[in-house]
Amino acid sequence: GLPMYGEILSPNYPQAYPNEVDTSWHIEVPEGFGVHLYFTHLDLELSENCEYDFVQILSGGIQEGKLCGQRPRKSADSPIVAEFRVPYNKLQVTFKSDFSNEERFTGFAAYYVAVDVDECTEFLDVPCSHFCNNFIGGYFCSCPPEYFLYDDMRNCGVNCTGDVFTALEGEITSPNYPSTYPENSRCEYRIELEEGFQVVVTMRREDFDVEPADADGRCQDNLVFVSRKQQYGPYCGHGFPGPLVIETGSNTLDVIFQTDLTGESKGWKLRYHGDPIPCPKDVKANSIWEPEKAKYVFKDVVKISCVDGFEIVQGSVGSTFFYSSCQSDGRWSSPDLVCQRTRDCGPPAPLEHGRVAEPEDTSFGAVARYSCVEPYYSMEPDGAGLYRCSGNGSWVNEVLGAELPECVPVCGVPRKPWAAAQQR
């Protein structure tokens, strides 16, 4: 609905304009067009820098021109006395007169038309990454062969995403390698191996040539590896700057290569292979692993037994061993189970008519000695006073087991002899 042309006349034109006029016209033509504004008549009071009466042309807040006085025709075969072209579709025209005009001035007559703009050339910003095509009222971008236009309709790139590598070993290169890689692209590859294998990437320095980092150290073109556990990179430059062998610890790895608009480098080539994910040989204290190996990998199972006096407590249940398996993520199952001291035997039970020398330490192996109140009581069975804290948390005697001995009264032995009781 916007006009393609129009007319602007000073008040009372072609009669003299009044004093103290302050009028503005806002011109707007359709998007994709510029404005051509031309004056066919101009008769205003002349003043230095057009201070008194003037007509001012503004585009986007910037003054395109300020006119006063009279202007002659620019050429004999044209009625135009002044003209302006802007590549934008909006323009503002303002007319002002001061409070006193001693002479009679007839003002101005101006016309505008919408004119096509060549967006591909008339702006400082390059609108398209590759090819720009102008048409009346707009433009469009296009791409070279094998490139495609991104959704922003301005940028072109190559389609290099989506390759999934599942073989246990392989090689991946940047597009066109060893020829220069395409600009303005993002390539996402994925290495996806069987669970239990980790991706190991091997890179040779000479197989890597990516536009070096900018002055701020940022890699505009870069290669990044992303595993489940961590990210490696971004890498750029001449020669691979990272470790030549990367053990990712993960069975999947995303390889992401990103390029900007500029630069001409040959790209990169990497090799990868799958390695069974190892579980750490993390033999905890007081435990024995069977079988013993230098390296444990996915699907290995070990029996972890506790040494005497130690046990594994799961909930309220204690046992002397458990099985742990090396999982696909490189972690042992039940990693929190450790051999801990068996439950404390606690203080030995009291013995009627006896005493117990209670040890400070009442855990496994501790010794408690029972004795009877002598000479009035004796132990039955004789000498059964030694108890050890056993692995099951109870005090145990070699003969009686967990039972306590008895302190029985010593019979028939007076503490004072009856001197007369001698056989005659």
Partner: protein
């Protein structure tokens, strides 16, 4: 005790004093909860009070002694119970067990006497000597307030039969369940009943710490200071062990 002298509790730590309105007798501690005594000493309506660890029978001293709370009396099944004491002429099976509510705390003045072993060696014969003790009559008093003890020889049974016959025309029965011990002037007497005739254990060789077993219990006699008749404990070993085993209870009821 005739012919004896004052004894300390530590010299006869098994000695138990039985006392109530009708009883003044002795007993022998044989286990933490058991006192062996003469049946005729406890053949009454209720078990008497019992004390251990005191040589004195004075009430004031007994308060400091270890009081033993009787739980139950077990008379030997062969004992003819319920006869009038003055009319009794048959003292066969004069043995009883007094069960205590609480175990006795052993110490220097309190300790059990051993039971006899099963061998013949634990049936004393003439020539053996035994230690008797009690608070019974002496040459000068009807009852002693301080424990007295004496050593008596075991003598042939005939001596006691003769003594009984001479005293009462042979109406008293002397059986194989009895021992005869004593000598003129050395004897047990009324009030010593139930106390032990303690004889050295023939199979215990430690002379420095001799061990005694209860060979007899003061039972009866016609005249104090001649010969006394004692229940022969070895004849009752099975009954004693069986009774204690079947009735031993750990908890006080």
């Amino acid at each position: 005790i005739f012919g004896g002298r004052a004894a300390e509790a530590a010299q006869v730590p098994w000695q138990v004093f039985l006392r109530d309105a009708a009883t003044w007798a002795g007993g022998a501690l044989v286990a933490a909860r058991w006192v062996l005594t003469a049946a005729h000493a406890v053949d009454g309506a209720a078990p008497p009070a019992a004390f251990a660890g005191s040589a004195s029978a004075r009430s004031a001293d007994l308060r400091r002694a270890q009081a033993l709370r009787p739980r139950r009396v077990f008379l030997h099944p062969g004992w003819k119970a319920g006869l009038e004491p003055d009319a009794r002429r048959d003292f066969d099976h004069d043995i009883a067990l007094l069960q205590l509510r609480d175990p006795v705390e052993m110490g220097p003045a309190v300790g059990p006497i051993c039971l006899p072993g099963r061998s013949e060696a634990y049936t004393p014969s003439a020539g053996d000597v035994g230690l008797i003790s009690g608070w019974g009559g002496t040459e000068r008093r009807e009852r002693a307030l301080t424990l007295r003890a004496a050593v008596v020889p075991v003598v042939p049974a005939q001596r006691c039969r003769q003594a009984a016959a001479q005293a009462d025309g042979g109406v008293y029965a002397f059986t194989d369940n009895m021992l005869c011990a004593g000598e003129p002037g050395v004897d047990s007497c009324q009030g010593d009943s139930g106390g032990a005739l303690a004889v050295r254990d023939p199979q215990h060789r430690d002379d420095d710490n001799p061990r005694f077993y209860v060979a007899g219990l003061v039972s009866w006699g016609k005249k104090c200071g001649t010969y006394g008749v004692y229940t022969k404990v070895s004849r009752y070993l099975d009954w004693i062990l069986k009774t204690m085993q079947e009735n031993d209870v750990a908890d006080d009821d």
